[in-house]
């Protein structure tokens, strides 16, 4: 009797989770398979015929292959920002963990402030315009770096503090200069937390909607999240295309989830359990 409890509660949980969490995704998939007419009724029904391919082609080619531009833009934005985040945050984390300078306190304050305070949008736009970075991809990259640095720094600093200082010293005696110590000894050792950092930040930046909306206007600059938004009005009644689009931009996070589930969870729960 007692042994069956996990089974019964498990079946109940699976059933409930199916309705609450799985059905919305099935809905997206079904819609992406439907033709325009069937999709218009927006009900949870089995697709009549296989229209995924033609939907995909139409979504990708619409508005002069905007989807491709968007994927390229989002990829560049994600890859470059995350690379910069890894290197720059690890360098800061390294110095913060190793030096006990009097300005560590204020720096930590600024890092926490960065985690809490929402960015001041219009002054940022004004500043970007002054720097000729407004509406450019490299401006957007720098923005993503600036906004996500605090989280990455915190992640790295905690990890670097666990690497014994004697390792740096051994390298120094071996003749390593500061850059050698960092790039040849410390950075390779940070690999586990770097994977976590890459995964968490990539998902965040790839999914970022708000910041590109403000700082990267214009069809040529569209990122995938924005195309989704732009398409919504265009495919006013073409729900099959809208959901094909949603399905398309859900694939990258899905792949990340399949391959890096553990690192993501580790990164997102980092620091939650200390105390």
């Amino acid at each position: 009797m007692k042994k069956q409890l996990p089974l019964i509660s498990g079946i109940a949980a699976i059933t409930v989770s199916f309705f609450v969490f799985v059905i919305p995704f099935l809905f997206i998939i079904f819609m992406a398979f439907k033709d325009r007419r069937q999709a218009a009724s927006r009900d949870f029904s089995w697709p009549e015929g296989f229209h995924l391919w033609e939907n995909l082609v139409e979504v990708v080619t619409t508005r002069n292959w905007m989807m491709i531009t968007a994927f390229v833009n989002s990829s560049i934005l994600t890859v470059v920002s995350v690379t910069l985040l890894v290197v720059l945050a690890a360098m800061v984390g390294f110095v913060l963990a190793r030096r006990d300078a009097k300005w560590n306190g204020p720096i930590e304050f600024l890092i926490l402030a960065g985690l809490m305070i929402p960015p001041a949008v219009v002054p940022t736009i004004w500043l970007l315009q002054g720097l000729k970075l407004f509406g450019t991809l490299h401006g957007m990259i720098l923005i993503e770096v600036a906004y996500n640095l605090p989280f990455s720094i915190i992640l790295y600093r905690a990890f670097i503090a666990t690497i014994p200082r004697e390792l740096d010293e051994a390298a120094i005696i071996d003749g390593a200069r500061p850059l050698d110590v960092f790039f040849r000894v410390i950075l390779p050792l940070l690999w586990p937390v770097t994977v976590t950092n890459i995964v968490v930040q990539s998902v965040g930046i790839f999914n970022d909607f708000t910041n590109p909306l403000y700082y990267l206007p214009g069809a040529n600059n569209a990122t995938v999240q924005l195309t989704l938004y732009n398409f919504q009005s265009q495919f006013n009644t073409a729900y099959n295309l809208l959901f094909t689009n949603i399905l398309l931009i859900t694939i990258p996070p899905l792949l990340v989830f399949l391959f890096f589930n553990r690192q993501i969870v580790a990164g997102m729960t980092a620091g939650a359990v200390k105390g």
Partner: protein, 304 residues
């Protein structure tokens, strides 16, 4: 810096180089990060304090004192946005704490299909917020949405989830919880598995019921996780923009506007000073609510 002050002095000082030994952890390592962060985050944040006091066209600004703020607290729809923001943050973080904790307890028990359940609960965290927003907008359509169609099968007339002004904000909050509860759950799971088994064994020897176990062991010992979940989701709730924008654009009317959506609307309308004042209001709101909250949660923790 490298000059010795040996009392025996001069005799020992054969060579004094100007440059001391090379810094081991040079300060310039933080320079690139510091420049990017200062220019693109700190500088706008600081200048927002000034621009919020102006009427601003991006090309020139006229100082008008606290007029923007006065307007913020005078116009009913702006005040509504302020209230909505707090409601939204409280509702979402409250639900995430309760549901996240419940899920975590369930998912750390020896339930079948644990791996599947964890995955299913967590996956929405990684999905595009706008995608989720659009999907649920369709599902929540009052007449053609799947949710109300399903309710109709049971003879229930579903509400206008997003069209009823007194419900819209809560519907969006519900979707926020749907998307975000997975994060709360994994944080709680990490907290729960860190509780030493000894406590439960001691409680069992004392004859504790499962409910007592939860109330006297699990709950107090997962307080750090609770603090993290509350603070993370509270800040997130106060700043929310994308989900609201994807689902209701603040409507119907201004019924589901939050400070973040007001900032965007005022920006689009060209009221840059007012928009920036909205930013400062949000900034102050977060500081005023989150700093005491953090202190309360940490003090409780200290007393254990």
């Amino acid at each position: 810096m490298s000059v010795t002050t040996a009392d025996s002095a001069g005799a020992l000082q054969t060579t004094v180089r100007k440059k001391p030994i090379q810094a081991r952890y040079p300060g310039w390592f933080i320079l690139p990060a510091a420049v990017i962060y200062s220019v693109l985050f700190l500088a706008p944040t600081v200048s927002s304090l000034y621009f919020s006091l102006t009427r601003w066209t991006l090309f020139d600004s006229v100082f008008i004192g606290f007029e923007n703020f006065a307007q913020f607290f005078r116009e009913p729809f702006l005040v509504q946005g302020l209230i909505n923001t707090v409601i939204y943050a409280v509702v979402t973080s409250g639900m995430k704490v309760v549901i996240g904790m419940a899920f975590a307890v369930l998912l750390t028990s020896n339930i079948v299909a644990r791996g599947y359940l964890r995955s299913v609960v967590f996956f929405p965290v990684l999905v595009s917020t706008v995608g989720v927003g659009i999907t649920f907008t369709v599902l929540m359509h009052p007449t053609q949405g799947m949710i109300n169609e399903t309710l109709a099968l049971f003879g229930i007339k579903g509400p206008g989830w997003l069209t009823n002004p007194s419900l819209a904000l809560y519907s969006v909050a519900l979707v926020d919880v749907w998307k975000g509860v997975g994060l709360a759950t994994v944080i709680y799971i990490a907290g729960l598995v860190a509780i030493p088994r000894d406590y439960y064994e001691a409680a069992r020897i004392d004859g504790a019921t499962p409910w007592q176990n939860f109330w006297y062991v699990t709950l107090p010992l997962s307080r750090p996780a609770t603090a993290t979940v509350i603070i993370l989701s509270f800040i997130g709730g106060l700043r929310t923009f994308d989900l609201i924008w994807a689902m209701t654009k603040g409507g119907p009317g201004f019924a589901s506007d939050t400070v973040a959506s007001v900032i965007y609307k005022q920006y689009q309308a060209g009221f840059y000073g007012l928009s920036t004042a909205g930013n400062v209001v949000l900034f102050v709101l977060i500081a005023v609510l989150v700093i005491p909250l953090t202190m309360i949660l940490n003090r409780r923790r200290g007393h254990e």
